[in-house]
Amino acid sequence: MNEVISTFIALIPVTLAQSLILSFVVLAIMIPFRILSFPDLTSEGAYPLGGAVCAIAMVSGVPAYLAIPLAVAAGFVAGCATALIHLRFKIHTLLAGILVTTMLYSVNLRILGKPNVPLFKETKLFDYLDLGKGMNNLEKILIVGLLMGVVGFGLRLWFMTERGIAMRAVGDNPDMAEAQGNNVDRAIFLGVGAAGGCAALSGSLMVQSQAFVDVNMGIGLLINALAALMIGETILGRRKISQQLLAPFVGSLIYYQLISFCLAAGLAPSDLKIATGIFVLVMLGAPILKGKRNTTRLAKESIRE
């Protein structure tokens, strides 16, 4: 047991850095799903897209601080593509996201030219902060933490503006929002696009963190992000917009520590999927089993057609 604990503790910094980076993917799931009632799977493709764009830009000599915005822009376009498919062709949001993700796999391979590209020589974002030897993880935690704070604070401010409140109305009651003079399509483009941008941001940070990009890096990420979101929402609640915005970050931090604990406890990496599935089920199912009627809303969200 002591060995498990000490392994777990040794893993905390690296897990923390990872979970901070991946919290942007959780945010990318939350915004369309919770704010716009637009359940969306584009993140699974936008995440490696962000990684690919960032990596290729950096290999071509673009500095990291410019490569990241490029990646975010690419992710935004991917999100808009999903929104366009749904709005123009009336295809269900989930299917639209799957279509875009599938197509992005080929796009990502085209961008990279080969399945994986190393980033050893290039100056990564994390190299701009030098705290000395052995402080790699701390550098990452500080930089990504700062970024997370800026994005989180920015979103909090946005959702207090007239436009932000109008955007929430689009997710809550699109017909009413439209009747009150809001352009529903534009809000969806903006929201789903921003989510794609968040996922791409996460991807671009991850390739710099691990110093290589792999075209398969997004596979299975979605269910992890969803599990993290559920954990965050169960802990914080989601009645208020501030709780809803904080949930992805808190959920991500806790979820990846749980996964890390499972690994420390000797669970094979191949068994992590079932562990994740069980997390999600417990988070969704526990309130229902306990008979709390209000919280059952979590499980049966209305899905936008």
Partner: protein, 295 residues
């Protein structure tokens, strides 16, 4: 045309005053010199065209409403009442014809642009409000109907004070629950809120789609009275769909009976004064007990 407009606060204050009876809008209207607010010409809309289920919902319907006029639309099921309201609000595109509101051709204008002219209260209390958002946020959305949402702080203290004050006159205690989710309100409370939201920025035309039909009789009365007061005090141009013939006789200054997608009967002015439920019913091809009973 200059007319002193009463402050909205006074209007709402009078809504729930038990000593005032419902105003008779017909007393002061129609005004012959009132400019046209709504003009509909030759409106056509066919559902399922070219199939066995083809249904002509609007069949060359024409109608115009002067500023400040209050029309009550009656007609049996399938006469085109809801289709007409949907066409005016933009929720439904028409095949042919034109719709002009306040001299602005809105025929092909999307709903969100048309919103600056039109406010609507639905039959279903769920439809007119954003249930997952707070009362204050819903009020803000209503206030933004006539303007573009900007990148500025939404719920400012000034706005909140304004909303609180306006809601306080409803005497439903909503002003103390500004941060309450609308989903927690009763149907009557939600419908009252919808009404305040519809008139907070005076619309060029107010559409009332059987907005009291889903409420219990007492609440329905409350909401209807509040509606009549707001409409008369703000002199709003209004179209109200009702299944209740007595309402058509008692309220408004114009009765519009629809049948098979056309205006079959258009009664206004002195003629309307002499109308009774019985005389109206005689106009229906098929007598409907439901309407007689005011269900």
């Amino acid at each position: 045309m200059l007319r002193s407009r009463p402050a909205l606060l006074d209007v709402i204050a009078s809504w729930t005053d038990p000593f005032l009876s419902a105003p008779r809008v017909a007393d002061s209207f129609p005004n012959k010199w009132a400019p046209e607010m709504l003009n509909i010409t030759n409106l056509r809309r066919t559902f399922f065209a070219g199939t066995a289920d083809e249904k002509v919902a609007l069949d060359g319907l024409s109608l115009s409403l002067g500023k400040g006029e209050f029309g009550v639309i009656i007609g049996s099921n399938g006469a085109g009442k809801s289709t007409l309201l949907n066409a005016i609000s933009g929720a439904l595109q028409v095949d042919e014809g034109t719709i002009t509101i306040a001299d602005d051709d809105v025929t092909r204008m999307p709903v969100h642009d048309r919103a600056r002219h039109v406010a609507r209260v639905f039959q279903d209390p769920m439809k007119g409000t954003a249930s997952g958002m707070t009362i204050a946020e819903n009020m803000l959305l209503a206030e933004l109907r006539t303007s573009k949402a900007r990148l500025k702080p939404g719920l400012t203290r000034k706005r909140l004070d304004n909303y609180r004050e306006q809601l306080s006159y409803l005497k439903l205690g909503l002003e103390d629950r500004m941060d309450t989710q609308v989903s927690l309100l009763s149907g009557g409370q939600r419908q009252s809120l919808s009404l305040v939201m519809a008139v907070i920025k005076e619309p060029d035309i107010l559409l009332l789609d059987e907005h009291t039909a889903a409420l219990d009789p007492r609440t329905a009365n409350l909401v209807l009275n509040a509606t009549l007061r707001a409409v008369s005090a703000l002199k709003l141009t209004t179209l109200m769909v009702s299944h209740n013939m007595q309402h058509a006789v008692d309220y408004g200054n114009r009765i519009l009976m629809l049948e098979a997608g056309k205006v079959k009967l258009d009664i206004s002015g002195a003629e309307k004064e002499g109308v009774s439920v019985q005389s109206l019913t005689n106009h229906f091809a098929i007598k409907s007990d439901r309407m007689l009973l005011g269900a």
